[in-house]
Symmetry: C2
Subunit: 161 residues, 2 copies
């Protein structure tokens, strides 16, 4: 959509945004990502994993993070006027990512505040949670994103509504 | 190296580990990663970026994170008896990743503590910093990793040395 129609800082308020997915994940994807970015045996070596107690490989936690980013993008961030992010406040990897998993992303806003240093920008902090098909929570992440403000005084107006 | 010769929890102590790289990064790599995982225009659209004030694309911050993981693996984690990680404590993206950058990773241990819940495991917390060729700091990350302990009482012995 045109930039002027995109979601602005003022369009985000604390609360649930929605649930996105499912996003199926194959073993080949897990191994290809791990081979490039996180080549630990637990993520890579299907034969060793099959003969171990784990039974099969687990995906890289970083792979879960970047699939989260893509699912959040496709789900709603592509429609927002994002100005980038200062970083990630926290990631928790709670259970292993497995070949054949189907991922669901739950997204919520947990904080909104204008940036003092930039009158045209506000910081929206999201909580993302990813689940597999069985409803097991695999990841929790708290991530701030800078969003363009529609007007520097829009927040003040909103407060007095 | 065989598992029994790998670095254990007891081999890590707070302090600098070393500097790793350089790892050159091409524009094609940045665009390929962004197209798959973080397709925001700022990371993807070279033509739009060239005609903007930015002048060129910037890489995804997540791309920087996963290259950090690979550089830390190749630099020293491949030689350690890692049992995985509970998550990431913090990531700060401090300056843009650009086509043609050459990345250096500085790694340090900032905390070591035995896990109460698992006598054979200790938690080593690392601080990673990534720099471009000009020495500009692009990323800071604090990340805990679970490491196998050589012996449950090794810490107590070390304390009394």
């Amino acid at each position: 959509m045109p930039a002027r129609d995109k979601l602005s800082y003022e369009d985000f308020r604390p609360g649930r945004i929605g649930s996105f997915g499912p996003r199926p994940v194959t073993g080949a994807e897990l191994i290809a990502f791990a081979a490039e970015f996180d080549p630990q045996p637990m993520h890579l070596d299907a034969q060793a994993a099959r003969s171990s107690m784990l039974g099969e490989i687990s995906g890289s936690g970083w792979h879960l993070c970047v699939m989260m980013q893509r699912m959040a993008h496709d789900g709603f961030l592509k429609d927002a006027h994002s100005l980038g992010s200062p970083g990630i406040d926290e990631v928790r990897w709670l259970a292993p990512l497995r070949p054949g998993d189907e991922l669901t992303l739950d997204a919520a806003v947990i904080d909104c505040r204008p940036l003092r240093s930039r009158a045209d920008t506000g910081l929206v902090t999201f909580r993302f949670e990813m689940f597999n098909r069985a409803g097991v929570r695999l990841l929790e992440c708290v991530a701030p994103v800078m969003m363009r403000r529609r007007a520097p005084d829009a927040d003040a107006k909103a407060e007095t509504r």
